[in-house]
Assembly symmetry: C2
Homo-oligomer: 384 residues x 2
């Protein structure tokens, strides 16, 4: 059974909004005059308020991580296969919190919110936000929810970077951190892909220097290109071969520039559907947060020193065919954490699914998450 009534689903969930009235100082030197965070929770917070897990989203994710917002939704939250009763992030044991990050386009304060100073949409004037800004705003949400210390902070890709930042920024507030398909910082190639994506959006004539909403248009072409390009980096070459090979959509070459190969059709579809649900200014902000993430920078590039503040127990997970954040990037993390004195488990998962693997069910992967979190949960019981 699939759907909100399935016994392993968190069921119907209602997003909520957390309003923070005080200004938030940002890394860029500007401040947000108050903000909203859209969030969802699954499971129940225990009496000791010790069983909360914060799930952080990646580039295009949001607060809707699990369950269904309406009975007739076409699909559940983005990590529904992993979060629910009896699932690896087990809502029978844990209280799960997921929020849409600042700068997002799913209900949290971002480019589509009103800038109180001008009464207009923020649009391109929304400040550049960093992973650290997100973590600080998430901590204010945790305060609001009465969570002093998370049992775990977990995320894949950019979400994993947030989990890592939590352990540095608030060492005392994170019992464990799950860093999945992440990296300690982007490579020049990663930044290059982001730059082409941004250039595609910003050079779309419908971008209007970010004020497209006020013009009643959307830079569809640019955002679509950005997403198509993203998808190339999310899939492995092997998976593309396996899924699409050189298959022709109509069985033969048409000697024209219409879609011919199945892979073209797949990418265009991914691009087209994305444009309907995502905002271009948010895409720009998310890629900048990725580019800027570099906790070692304040320590002369010494990642181990940067991570020495952490007190959490770590689980680092990498996928064999991920070439966006390859396993060697995860091993950099593991090495630096070890050197910095942290307890780290490392799982290298054999998977053909590329970077996308962090979002897909996989017995070994889910087994590792489950085992790690079972241990975290057992310690909560002992502590209680």
């Amino acid at each position: 059974m699939v759907g909100p009534l399935s016994p392993d689903s968190v069921g119907l969930v209602e997003p909520r909004s957390f309003r923070h009235e005080q200004p938030l100082a940002l890394d860029c030197g500007r401040e947000l005059p108050g903000f909203d965070l859209k969030y969802e929770t699954y499971g129940s917070l225990n009496a000791a308020r010790s069983n909360a897990i914060l799930v952080c989203h990646a580039l295009s994710g949001d607060h809707h991580a699990a369950g269904w917002n309406a009975p007739d939704d076409k699909r559940p939250g983005w990590w529904d296969n992993c979060i629910g009763p009896g699932k690896p992030i087990d809502t029978d044991k844990f209280f799960v919190v997921a929020c849409n990050n600042l700068g997002g386009c799913a209900g949290s304060t971002g480019p589509n919110s009103i800038n109180p100073a001008t009464g207009r949409l923020w649009g391109p004037d929304f400040p550049i936000v960093t992973v650290r800004d997100w973590v600080r705003s998430q901590a204010l949400l945790a305060d609001h929810l009465g969570i002093e210390r998370f049992a775990a902070v977990a995320g894949g890709s950019l979400g994993g970077m947030q989990a890592l930042q939590w352990t540095i920024e608030f060492p005392g507030r994170v019992r464990s951190a799950l860093l999945i398909a992440a990296a300690p910082r982007l490579s020049a190639q990663n930044i290059a892909f982001n730059e082409v994506a941004r250039k595609a959006i910003m050079s779309d004539p419908d971008f209007h220097e970010g004020r497209y909403a006020e013009q009643g248009v959307v830079p569809r072409r640019g955002l679509m290109l950005a997403r198509m390009l993203g998808h190339i980096t999310y899939l492995s070459d092997g998976l593309m071969r396996q899924k699409f090979g050189r298959e022709l959509r109509e069985g033969k070459l048409n000697f024209g520039f219409d879609v011919e190969f199945q892979i073209e059709s797949y990418l265009r579809h991914q691009g087209e559907t994305f444009v309907d649900r995502f905002d271009a200014n948010t895409y720009l902000l998310m890629t900048k947060a990725l580019d800027y993430f570099d906790p070692a920078a304040e320590y002369d590039g010494d990642l181990a020193r940067a991570l020495a503040r952490a007190q959490a127990r770590f689980l680092v997970v990498a996928f064999s065919s991920d070439w966006r954040f390859a396993p060697e990037r995860s091993r950099e993390l593991v090495k630096a954490l070890h050197t910095g004195g942290s307890a780290v488990s490392y799982a290298a998962i054999d998977s053909p699914d590329g970077h996308d693997a962090f979002l897909l069910p996989n017995e070994h992967y889910f087994g590792v998450l489950r085992a790690f979190l079972n241990r975290v949960h057992a310690e909560l019981e002992v502590a209680a």
Copy 2:
């Protein structure tokens, strides 16, 4: 000394034009009513007319492979480091021919030529041309030059695909073939990158369905994006790290969307300069020729059977950090050629320069080319 007077330069060269008046039947089922090929030659054809080497260009190359067209040119031909007196492709020994391919934008018949049937520019109506079409047109040029059999056909990347096609299409007319940084066909990922590049060009509002020239505009934004994306695939991740790392252009983050990291600056510069010298419709045609190249297709995907017709001796060269056409793609070629009964030398060159390595001087690489061609030359002497 660098420049046309350098003793190892072929010096000042004047491009010529070959006019073929008869129609050329193309793979797409259409025919070109006559065509021009722009070409250059370096060195002297010997009395036996046996020492000619055809050099085939890659996606963005042209007929100007070596030497200088004018004394004040900023740079020489695209493979000048490899072609000249005493260089690996030694013009003291060989007569080198290089032409701009059909569909090109450097003087051969292409989208910017007049379609005699309409009196207008071909533009987007120029037929899709394949690697086989190119090889057939190059054979007509060879006829014109009185070259019955090439001592070698050589090329890197898409140029290597042409060299391979020569050995299948005209087995008796190729003594040896140099396939450098090539592949027997594109992977789904290769096609995906091409598709995003095409989409970038075709979705530029200045593209006007390919009739931009008649509108007096150029789809600069799209072509620039295509080139930036191309460059990511030409460089290795390691080289990017080494050349650009995460270096900031102004030493610190500017918390905005201007160019910040050195890699961004490099890519934008590459994109901007390309737009001034290359044509968007040609870019589309070249990527399609890449996508379509698949000599095994007519043999139920059996590459060895496809290559069994070949009579040439082969040199296959791959570069360790090339991820566009990785060494394993070259080994596919080597294996199929062996199975098909050909004589093959294979050189795996250790290089940090990614796919671009085929254009760059490298002692091991150039030594291999030199040794292989010396042997080809020695055989010519024996045969004479």
